[in-house]
């Protein structure tokens, strides 16, 4: 069923390293901590590689698969959808998962609009324990669509995340859910103008410090994206009363893709994968406040085809914090794990 000639942004060596040696390590710990299988929500791509990799720890998967060419003669996306359906159906049949939900279309349209392209109603009744939002473009890239009056409206990934975290908050009590891991992957491209939205003195100072002396456009952009993501997602988690903690993001080279604007020339994108640990705040106290300055000044994790190492950026003339770039170490030394997860069932 798999079409080898097809471009697949989730299927390359760095991705596999991240799936196997970063996410899976942490998912295993969450699974052991909770003492039960996990509920996954994500964009697995047509091969469902992340689901297959983590299958031993999953009970249910909630999946979005877009079909960009729905109205064109190109049947590729139709094929993709059937392919993914068969994959999920086989997992269900062979009792690897208990059940699944598959929504067709762009996650922005479905989560915000409430329906998928098959007319299926979007609803979540489960407390999600693993999010893997593997976006194939930038965090601030808008999704343009038309409303019922025909006006063009734009949805942003931040709106989707906000809505999903709201669902999560509403379902805590009903589903007896508290803890989760949130992975998000985006292009590292980032327009500086987006930083105008950020109202944080700390971030402004941080940027001022290196902006004038940093060499390289991407060097600045990736740090802006790191700060922007932290600020935006922190707002959402706080609003919904979740303790949260960002682990250092993984910086890596994405798959080669044919750039249409350059006549199909193969290019690479630099990608960032964020890891956030979350726990419902059940007290009246404020949610845990991570040391943002330290987080921003921590080095990136760099994923090669085989391993993780710290990213020593030659273009960045400031010293950043060192640490051991191990998925397991970072997780079990986190504040969230030590203070909220550890008293559970985790078996070291």
């Amino acid at each position: 069923m798999k079409k080898k000639d097809q471009f697949c942004y989730t299927d390359h060596a760095r991705k596999e390293v991240i799936r196997k040696h970063w996410c899976k390590e942490q998912i295993k710990i969450l699974h052991s901590t909770l003492g039960k299988k996990l509920i996954y929500l994500g964009l697995p791509g047509i091969e469902g590689l992340d689901i297959l990799e983590w299958i031993d720890y999953l009970e249910k998967v909630i999946v979005f698969q877009c079909s960009e060419y729905k109205n064109s003669k190109n049947k590729t996306e139709q094929f993709d959808f059937v392919h993914l359906t068969e994959l999920l159906e086989n997992l269900d049949k062979s009792e690897k998962i208990k059940t699944y939900a598959l929504f067709r279309g762009f996650i922005e349209d479905i989560v915000i609009g409430g329906f998928d392209e098959n007319g299926g109603v979007f609803d979540i009744k489960d407390f999600v324990t693993v999010y893997n939002l593997d976006f194939c473009n930038g965090l601030t890239t808008p999704r343009n669509t038309r409303d019922l009056k025909g006006n063009i409206i734009s949805y942003f990934k931040i709106d989707v995340i906000k809505k999903l975290v709201q669902y999560q908050n509403e379902l805590c009590e009903q589903c007896n859910g508290k803890h989760f891991i949130f992975y998000m992957t985006v292009h590292s491209n980032f327009l500086e103008s987006n930083m105008d939205e950020i109202d944080s003195q700390e971030i402004t100072l941080f940027r001022k410090k290196f902006k004038s002396v940093t060499k390289g456009k991407n060097t600045l952009a990736v740090r802006d994206l790191k700060a922007y993501t932290y600020f935006k997602l922190a707002e959402i988690f706080k609003e919904n009363s979740f303790h949260f903690e960002f682990l250092p993001p993984i910086f890596y080279q994405g798959s080669e893709y044919p750039n249409r604007e350059k006549g199909g020339k193969l290019e690479n994108h630099w990608m960032l994968t964020f890891t956030i640990l979350g726990t419902k705040n059940t007290t009246k106290n404020d949610v845990y406040q991570q040391d943002m300055k330290k987080y921003l000044e921590d080095k990136f994790v760099f994923a090669s085809n085989t391993k993780f190492q710290l990213f020593n950026d030659a273009h960045f003339p400031f010293s950043e914090n060192d640490y051991t770039p191990s998925a397991k170490e970072l997780l079990i030394n986190s504040y969230i794990f030590k203070n909220y997860w550890l008293p559970l069932n985790y078996d070291k």
Partner: protein, 544 residues
């Protein structure tokens, strides 16, 4: 006469299934029936964007059973012990989906798969039909050939289906069917009304009814089984129950259920019925569960409106929720499950249902209604008594109020006495309350009567001397009444005239006196004067 396989055309499968399964949801029922017949305890229905999956944990089918399941109109099943027995249910999705896949596994064997290419079968039949219309073609595929070419058997590995049981997949449903099958509420409602499901935990008498049904079934060695059914529409899961809930009744909830055996003098035990009456004397709030259903081994036959005529009127029918559970092995449902197959036994069953409906359910509802009314009247009386009792102290100087209390209590007392003396439907548990309240009301009437009398005496004593003096010095009136006694009030005046008046009339006269004579008199003297004038007028009236 010798026949060949060409004598049975493939079109037969299309005709039969179209006629028998008019609602796409009927196919779900058919595959659930097969699961129950295979002794499944649990069935999962999963509705996905392109398919419907029905998975049971029953005994499963080995190769031989699977081979037999393909047969059309032939079945090994015992109609008395199984739900399905016609040998057609497997094809119930013939018009719904493009492909039907059945995977089944029995313990200690690898699973096997049957694949039915319904789309190709339909395409062939349609194209031959078109040819017949256009070219008078005689091409018609035989049933055997049609099935042979489009049914495929294969062996699978244990990884494909690890646990025993059967998995049915209807793939690529027609969009019109799909629309109705993806609405979780619509599908739930259908399944909850037709499948033998456990009672909802929100129905407080569910367990009692279930135990009672089982008790009857054991006593009569009857087959009756419930199934745990889970519905999952694209990841949203719901466990299904019989559709009754306490909230369907009005605020008072359901009455303890009635039970009755359905029997026939010749054929014996036909089944059992239960019914829960609304405690409020009103219709059941949720119209979808209002009335009775007929069930055969838990599966619904027809619908509620079919049972209504057996009750003669909707009045009491709509105040119940209930079921007639038919268990006689020889009473068999027809293909579409809209009725039982015609037989003398069916006639006896309906006679039994009718007799229970009118002679038992309607009667019980009527008794309950009258008891409720009696109870309400009693409670009203008790409350009124209590109200007057507590207010008497405040109104003991208010003549109008005393008279009003007196009048109303007298009426209640007489009304109650009549009811108690005749056939009042008060429950035994309240009879003592009823007798007690009559005694109390009578005593209160007497108390009020005494207060009224005391009040009048006081009035008279207060000014009797001056009145008499005045009357003597008033020639026009005194001349007329000189030798006559002076009345204290209107009642006494009438008595002085010599007219007989009963207690009721006395009450009325007292009321008239208080409201229209005393209230208009300027003082005691004026009042006596008015009475004397009135006496004169009445006497003149009688003289005329």
């Amino acid at each position: 006469m010798k026949l060949t396989q060409q004598d049975i055309g493939g079109e037969i499968i299309s005709i039969i299934t179209k006629g028998m399964y008019s609602d796409p949801k009927d196919a779900l029922r058919e595959y659930i029936q097969n699961g129950i017949d295979a002794k499944a305890e649990k069935i999962d229905i999963k509705i996905r964007p392109d398919r419907i999956v029905i998975r049971d944990n029953g005994d499963g089918m080995d190769k031989v059973k699977m081979r037999k399941s393909i047969r059309v109109g032939m079945s090994d099943k015992n109609p008395g012990k199984n739900i399905g027995f016609m040998g057609i249910g497997l094809y119930s999705s013939f018009h719904l989906c493009d492909k039907l896949i059945i995977i089944s596994k029995i313990d200690a064997e690898i699973p096997n798969k049957l694949e039915f290419d319904f789309k190709s079968m339909r395409d062939i039949l349609q194209s031959q039909k078109n040819k017949r219309i256009e070219e008078d073609s005689e091409d018609q595929i035989a049933l055997l050939s049609l099935l042979e070419k489009h049914i495929f058997f294969s062996e699978l590995s244990n990884e494909d289906l690890p646990s025993k049981g059967t998995r049915v997949e209807m793939i690529n449903l027609g969009s019109n069917f799909f629309q109705s099958l993806t609405k979780i509420d619509e599908v739930s409602e259908y399944l909850e009304s037709v499948i033998p499901l456990p009672f909802d935990p929100e129905f407080s008498y569910g367990k009692i009814i279930e135990d009672k049904i089982q008790e009857f079934c054991i006593a009569h060695k009857s087959f009756y089984k419930l199934i745990d059914l889970n519905l999952d529409v694209n990841g949203i899961e719901r466990q299904l129950f019989r559709p009754y809930k306490d909230a369907d009744f009005k605020k008072l909830g359901p009455l303890y259920p009635f039970f009755k055996e359905m029997n026939d003098p010749e054929d014996g035990f036909l089944g059992i019925t239960w019914g829960c009456l609304n405690k409020d004397t009103a219709v059941i709030k949720n119209e979808k569960v209002r009335g009775f259903l007929i069930k055969k081994n838990g599966f619904t036959i027809g619908n509620r409106s079919d049972v209504l005529p057996r009750f003669n009127s909707a009045k009491f029918f709509n105040r119940y929720v209930g079921e007639f559970i038919v268990l006689h092995p020889k009473l068999l449902p027809n293909g579409p499950r809209s009725d039982f197959e015609f037989s003398p036994l069916r006639t006896k069953l309906y006679a039994s249902i009718e007799s229970i409906a009118t002679g038992f359910y309607n009667k019980e509802a009527n008794i309950y209604q009258e008891e409720e009314r009696a109870e309400k009247d009693l409670d009203d009386a008790i409350n009124y008594y209590k109200e007057i009792r507590s207010n008497l102290e405040f109104f003991e100087k208010n003549g109008d109020k005393l008279l009003e209390f007196h009048r109303k209590l007298t009426m209640i007392c007489e009304d109650f006495q009549k009811k108690v003396d005749t056939s009042w439907k008060i429950r035994d548990s309240r009879k003592e309350d009823a007798n007690d309240i009559i005694i109390k009301i009578k005593s209160l009437i007497q108390e009020i009567q005494d207060l009224i009398s005391q009040k009048k005496k006081k009035k008279t004593k207060k000014s009797s001397k001056s009145i008499i003096t005045d009357l003597v010095s008033a020639p026009d009136v005194s001349q007329t009444t000189k030798s006559e006694p002076i009345p204290d009030d209107l009642v006494q005046l009438i008595e002085l005239i010599g007219l007989n008046i009963n207690n009721e009339l006395k009450v009325i006269l007292n009321l008239l006196d208080e409201k229209y004579i005393q209230s208009k008199a300027k003082n005691e003297e004026d009042y006596i004067h008015t009475l004397l004038q009135l006496r004169k007028d009445i006497e003149e009236l009688f003289e005329e």
